[in-house]
Symmetry: C2
């Protein structure tokens, strides 16, 4: 019945999704502010059309929230569905094979920014909800909250939750913003990493200097920045910031055993991303390194002359955007302080260092014994024909920890992304087949949720 | 008499110089190619007007050369004047107080790209020549060669010299493209450093990756590039590339003694460029470090997300422009190979490194016993009222070594730049007083040159 519903409505649904994707709602670029409101408004319309009996665009300090609900019975349990309508920047544009904001279908995949993260995945939730309401199958209450600042660290969400505890009251949060191991290996995400993200500015001389007249006598801020970043990790892939690992929970022997049994082909993994060798913390496997262990990455760096040809210059300034992924129990604010202090302490002679904390959030672990987890497991099993594996993932959705802290609710992560969807990268895409199966899985989740 | 000539002709001269400056002849940016030809053509007109009996714009593989001559007597000695009409890029544009290509006079200084390097300084040579020809004072032959690729390493000059040995035949080369210690401390440059310049490209994964999904398991190319650059110098400011110092001539005790007596206020130096501490090779003074010792500088770096806010990405690629200044006896090609090999050898696991050699050239030492050096010394003494100090400088004019190698001629470096002229930087400028005194000094050089 659900399969038939999807088939009969697919072309309309696709146009609805495209209408969301076409709005370039890049939250990190202030010029897109009007697009944020347009996108929120479009979501409001779509949620009403899908069956919400109330839907609003609600202001925050930053980009607005979309809130919608369908209240079946004040006594019935409530599922709060979270998603986000903002997307990542699209640079480098020249690597896209088509306009990132004009979705096209090639080989059964939608190609566009947001096709997966998170317009595509949130849309799955909305359409499963639509199926249930249109067919009178919804037996519990459903609330939606869609935010416009997830990709910049959800600065307004915590306050919004604090201010609207009653409105957001629910028994479980449901999120589609993660990925599965592969289309053949359905999995449910039971853990996420936390995050801290900084911008570092290194200042040397008060103006760009001629590298011939000054070279050798003055600390070059790019040289200095490189030395600082280089020192933050050692040859064994360990982060060298003092006390960084203090709160890191060692992965248990049982969990390591379970991870070791996840089908994973390292040669295929390397081939898929075009690297000769993996590299990471000594003593841990690739799957452990990218899910249960912290990491340090320089996400961007710039300074000096970056144009064509050569310019012999000692620049006045050099910049980097650096981030760490954190594991449960590490506190992002504490890490933010450790890193800022450490960067100041290792600043080379002759430069000054400014560290700006951009955002952060905590990791999360979901117990697989939760009834709602069981419902999600069954939903996946019906849609994909296989019982999903419980796995921890390396990404961060800091707000999951916020929901637990502020609203006191656990979250179920029913993610339908695939590795090859290239989220945050050029040519982000989403297979149409995953959207269809996602809608099925979520619809079944709701149906099983009433039973467990 | 020369003072009077300058005074009577100053406003015309200024307009002539401005007409050169207004042409944005940036050799490193291919879009400026038409400007190169325009600038060469303008120089040709000005040299004819100044008294050349022949002037031509001559093609090369790259930007054209301007050649001009005034032959007084085939048996008389010949002075070959070298300059360059190309200029450096102007970024960062927002730091300029006025349009870099629309010269303005503020507080007795001309502000514009090229006001000093090298349009202003070459202009001094042209106007001294004009004075001598217009007043029948020139007793030897004068040739001019102005190139349009000095700022990108003079890729066509060596071949041009090889092909025009007869045309360029001369007894001495005279160049105004260096600076003095200060307006009160006239000096003649007796040594220059060499240069090697590379672009380094580090490639990790075949596309930008999500730092959550991959962070910790994959070598990040920015992390890798920083580690590589950080390793190239040690905590004592020494370059760590094996065999880098093999051919470095140790500065003699006498020369160090002479350098120690150059009036130099390190506190003023630091204050002028806004740094708290100098930094450089252990065991050497600042003046030694920036003139007689090699140096390593990262002139530019870029990779990953550099826009507003945060993007959690492991980029596919990271880039740097790196350069070393070399001292006499170090061979730039040999160093180019050493560095390229070393960079490959220290490439971290999981990335590939491409090293592109952009350009280079050798250092130079001028014996102060040369008769032409004595003439320059006297010219300076008359114009500035003080005998100039012989000093080695840290910049590079690789073609000086080329003139010696190909044409067999030594070069006299009569430079009129000042530290505060900010060449290669925003707000490049040139004091009008230095242009006047420069013209005087060069005119006297020619007059003394006939005597020595």
């Amino acid at each position: 019945m659900i399969k038939q519903y999807i088939q009969e409505n697919e072309s309309r649904m696709q146009e609805e999704l495209f209408s969301l994707i076409r709005i370039p709602s890049i939250s990190s670029e202030s010029k897109h502010q009007p697009d944020m409101l347009r996108c929120a408004e479009r979501w409001r319309e779509l949620l009403i059309a899908a069956g919400a009996d109330r839907a609003e665009v609600m202001p925050t300090e930053g980009n607005p929230m979309v809130y919608a609900e369908r209240i079946i019975d004040a006594q019935a349990p409530t599922v709060l569905i979270y998603g986000h309508y903002d997307v990542m920047p699209v640079e480098p544009l020249n690597l896209w094979h088509s306009d990132p904001f004009e979705p096209v279908i090639r080989d059964g995949h939608i190609f566009a920014r947001g096709a997966d993260d998170d317009k595509g995945q949130s849309f799955i939730q909305a359409k499963a909800f639509e199926y249930l309401t249109q067919n009178g199958l919804l037996k519990h209450n459903v609330k939606f909250i869609l935010e416009g600042e997830e990709e910049i660290g959800s600065p307004s969400l915590e306050t919004f939750c604090e201010q609207h505890k009653q409105l957001l009251k629910a028994d479980i949060v449901l999120v589609s913003d993660t990925s599965m191991l592969s289309a053949e290996l359905p999995s449910l995400t039971t853990g996420l990493r936390g995050l801290s993200y900084w911008q570092v500015e290194v200042t040397g001389p008060n103006r760009d200097l001629h590298s011939g007249h000054f070279g050798g006598a003055v600390m070059n801020p790019i040289n200095a920045l490189c030395k600082m970043i280089a020192q933050l990790t050692d040859a064994d892939g360990r982060i060298t910031i003092p006390h960084f690992y203090d709160d890191v929970e060692e992965v248990s022997a049982e969990e390591r055993e379970m991870i070791a049994h996840i089908p994973f082909d390292e040669e295929k993994y390397k081939a898929a991303i075009g690297i000769k060798d993996v590299f990471g913390e000594k003593g841990y496997s690739t799957l452990e390194r990218n899910s249960c262990r912290p990491s340090f990455d320089c996400c961007g760096i710039w300074g000096g002359y970056t144009g064509e040809g050569a310019k012999t210059v000692i620049p006045s300034k050099a910049y980097a955007k650096i981030s760490t992924r954190l594991v449960p129990h590490q506190n992002s604010e504490k890490i933010a302080q450790l890193v800022a202090q450490h960067l100041q302490s290792i600043a080379p002679t002759g430069v000054t260092v400014k560290v700006e904390y951009l955002h952060g959030g905590e990791g999360y672990v979901c117990p697989i014994s939760l009834p709602a987890y069981k419902a999600a497991e069954k939903g996946f099993e019906l849609a994909f024909g296989k019982r999903p594996l419980p796995v921890r993932r390396g990404g961060s959705i800091p707000i999951i920890a916020t929901f637990e802290k502020v609203l006191g609710i656990k979250t179920i992560l029913m993610g339908f992304g695939l590795e090859s969807n290239a989220i945050h990268s050029p040519n982000e895409n989403m297979p149409l087949s995953m959207i269809r199966r996602g809608i099925e899985a979520v619809a079944h989740f709701h149906l099983f949720f009433d039973e467990v």
